[in-house]
Subunit: 125 residues, 2 copies
């Protein structure tokens, strides 16, 4: 048991393979900056790995703490209903695992500001 | 005819009303910083106004240039198929209107970096 923590980027998933690219870039950037952490990417639907399989693999590899970061823009049914259901099931299957969930992108003031600032400059003068 | 430009934030939409909140915040921040610009929020589905109605209203109000900013994380079917179809139809209905489309959040390197940087700090040490 390593006691290591893992960060799981949780994205919606889509049929188009190109869709996953920004999430993979974010994963790689975070992993490069945090070699102390395992950084993984998991999906709600349409792409693999799904969240339960991803976390089962991290638990099997000895991780004791999992932080799920929903890379979603806003709070809707996926984060209010689907994700809590998945997390409840994961906690039941892995009772020794500490599982936390971070807020989505749109609930982080500095990220909302970053998007607004980008638009302020990108919009035509 | 005012000749004014408009920026339309284009979001997916959801059944949960809370979902729209970050997009409304972004709209308000951009509008405050760019009083020269009309800033509107429109949706693909589940919420109103939809993109065609939003742009028809802006055109009727005398805007000559519309910049659509998809507040989507990544490029999938919604931005590769649905949005081009909507924009083609809008151009046909409003031939005098100049309509441009900005890249989504996940295709803007500075926004990808902002998300990664936030995660680097938010993840447990």
């Amino acid at each position: 048991m390593s006691g290591k923590s893992a960060l799981v980027l949780f994205a919606h998933g889509a049929r188009d393979a190109q869709w996953a690219q920004p999430f993979a870039t974010i994963r790689d950037e975070v992993a490069a900056a945090r070699p102390d952490l395992s950084v993984a990417l998991a999906f709600l639907e349409a792409m693999t790995p799904r969240l339960p399989e991803c976390i089962a693999a991290l638990a099997a590899a000895g991780h004791e703490r999992i932080v799920v970061a929903p890379i979603f823009l806003a709070l809707g049914g996926h984060l209010k209903e689907d994700l809590p259901r998945l997390v409840a099931d994961i906690r039941e299957r892995h009772p020794a695992l500490a599982v936390e969930v971070l807020p989505p992108v749109g609930e982080v003031p500095e990220l909302v500001r970053a998007i607004a600032r980008w638009l302020v400059n990108a919009a035509p003068r």
